[in-house]
Amino acid sequence: MATTTDAGQRPRRSALTGGRHLADRLFQGITGVAASIVLIIVAGLFVQLIWRSWPAMKANGFSFIWQTNWDPARGIFGAGAFLVGTALTAVSALILATMVAVLVALYLVEIAPAWVARPISYMVELLAAIPSVVYGLWGIYVLGGFVKDVIGPVLTNTLGTFIPFFGGTPRVTGLLSAILVLTIMIIPTVMAVSRDVIAAVPGSQREAILALGATRWEAIRIAVLPYARSGVLGGAILGLARAVGETLAVTLVIGNRVSIPDTIFAPTYTMASVIANQFQEAEGATHRAALMEVALLLLVLTFVINVIARILVWRVTNGQRAVVIE
């Protein structure tokens, strides 16, 4: 604690905190208020959404979560179908994205020379800077056509011949298009965290296994990945949080129909997309409150996912290097 010349002239409050400039305390106070605004915002988010969805919670009860009927005209509200749609899109995207992203991260850290790694790293991170609506636009008018004309027929003729879920008529907008757009959107998140975590694996670990005669891949599999495992998992879960909360790109390509998809091409809804699509034209207060309840569900879900992910990432990087995410 810095003591100053006029410290002795002030009455000491206690041995530890006494003798500080009034200006110093003011400074701490002002910045502290700014910091607590964050706390207020987070708390406010929950409070406002709980408040606005309270009528819906009373009317719908707990069955709101698994009830799959959503019929605003008849006042029936269940978020089950949206939960399924969210889970299907987010988890599928997460699996696809993690496979690619972890391999990219391994390539960048373990194999590529710096002059290759840097531009690739930068380009993948630029993907994260492209706005959601642009992904949506590209998703409908470019990717959607590719899904309908190329990926769709290939899937129906192969997997679709024995798994009905992969059969059906390929469409431009639907589950698969949403999954693919989300995959592209969360690859940067998962890649960046994985890359940082993998780079944080001490070189001595790699050397130890290489000196035993391991190939580079064996070094990755035996020494690097086990060491970085929980951090990579944390990165993947952060990607999941992003996929769950992603709104407009999904709204544009998912087809927007209240139903649990029976094929991978079927149109459906996620929690975020039903809010974006219906809130403005909501038919009255109950519909609006029900959408607020969906938002609350979404908020709680992403909150839990985020907390798990942060804990995992923090444990690995352990403050040695802060990973700035999102």
């Binding site: 100053t4 500080r20 400039h21 200006a23 110093d24 400074f27 701490q28 910045t31 502290g32 208020v33 700014a34 910091a35 605004i37 964050v38 915002i41 987070v42 406010g44 406002q48 959404l49 408040w51 606005r52 496979m99 990219v104 391994l106 390539y107 993948v124 991170e125 630029l126 993907l127 800077a129 492209i130 706005p131 959601s132 609506v133 642009v134 949506g136 590209w138 690859i187 940067p188 998140t189 190939t215 580079r216 891949w217 064996e218 990755i220 909360g245 709104t247 709204t251 544009l252 975020a272 974006a276 607020m292 938002a295 992403t302 985020n306 907390v307 942060r310 802060a322 700035v324 995410i325």
Partner: protein, 295 residues
């Protein structure tokens, strides 16, 4: 003895194992390289399509005219561009001071339990879906005032900006060498003066970099604006009325029925992506430090 281990290394079994291991290594290397190519491909494709589709619809009238009534081709998106600029500007004015002060608090007084909790909350806020942030401001500002306003939109954007800038500020402050701080302390400077005159100015380039990246991020956000600033077909600069923005107009046009809307949506995307890429390149050229903002 030496020959013994040599022999054990070159038995036929070891040989085939060795070849298998070498093949696996090569195959996995190729797979990793392919993944890298695969991951970069979407960026190249998106930039390519935005460029080729957007450049055709890009014209002076797009920048200087307001939208025609629906269904009548032509017109522009001047209102959206100006609206975006206004809201991003207001969001920065609201959010940046809070964010920077929060970052200062975290780095100066945050090496304790309270700091850990706050840092955690900042990270959690950064991960909240932007649509829920839009609803939060809708509930907090729009409903009580019974009006969609540019201010409400700016507030929603500010909520998105705050955690990003706060964390970057904290990191940039922690990068300032300890010796610099100690030199100021040794001169008898109180903490606030040390921070304001020594630490913050030293970290300023990094903070500005982070702020620019955060700006380019909120400039592309549409979801939080849907229920706050709503959108406006007409030109407006009034902070207390509904206002248009580029991302919301892209969303509106992309899901609409007219071809010229789609073309204009591509052109607006070109403006937006161009802006973001330029900011990103400038930031990268200016700052040697690694600062990234992920949307």
């Amino acid at each position: 003895m030496t020959t013994a281990s040599t022999e054990s290394l070159f038995t036929p079994a070891t040989e085939s194992l060795f070849r298998r291991r070498r093949t696996t290594d090569r195959v996995m290397t190729i797979i990793m390289l392919s993944a890298a190519v695969l991951a970069v491909t979407p960026l190249v494709l998106i930039v390519f399509h935005v460029l080729t589709h957007g450049i055709g619809a890009l014209s002076l009238s797009l920048l200087t005219e307001d939208p025609n009534p629906a269904g009548r081709p032509g017109g522009g998106v001047r209102n959206s561009i100006v609206g975006s600029a206004i809201m991003v500007g207001m969001a920065t004015a609201i959010g940046a001071p809070i964010a920077i002060a929060c970052g200062v608090f975290l780095s100066e007084y945050g090496q304790n339990r309270l700091g850990t909790v706050l840092r955690f909350l900042v990270d959690v806020l950064a991960g909240m879906p932007s649509i829920t942030i839009g609803l939060f401001i809708y509930s907090l500002v729009v409903l009580p005032n019974k009006k969609f306003t540019a201010i409400a939109g700016a507030m929603a954007l500010a909520v998105i900006l705050i955690p990003v800038v706060a964390r970057i500020t904290e990191e940039m402050l922690l990068l300032v060498p300890r010796s610099l701080r100690e030199a100021a302390f040794a001169l008898g400077a109180p903490r606030w003066r040390t921070v304001m005159t020594v630490v913050l100015p030293t970290a300023l380039p990094g903070i500005v970099t982070g702020l620019m990246l955060a700006l380019s991020r909120i400039a592309g956000e549409a979801a939080p604006l849907l229920f706050t600033s709503l959108g406006n077909q007409f030109f407006s600069t009034d902070p207390f009325s509904a206002i248009d923005a580029l991302p919301t107009r892209i969303y509106f046009y992309a899901s609409g029925p007219f071809d010229y809307w789609h073309e204009q949506a591509w052109a607006m995307s070109l403006l937006l992506v161009g802006f973001i890429l330029v900011v990103s390149l400038i930031v990268r050229a200016l700052a040697g430090t690694k600062v990234t903002v992920r949307q």
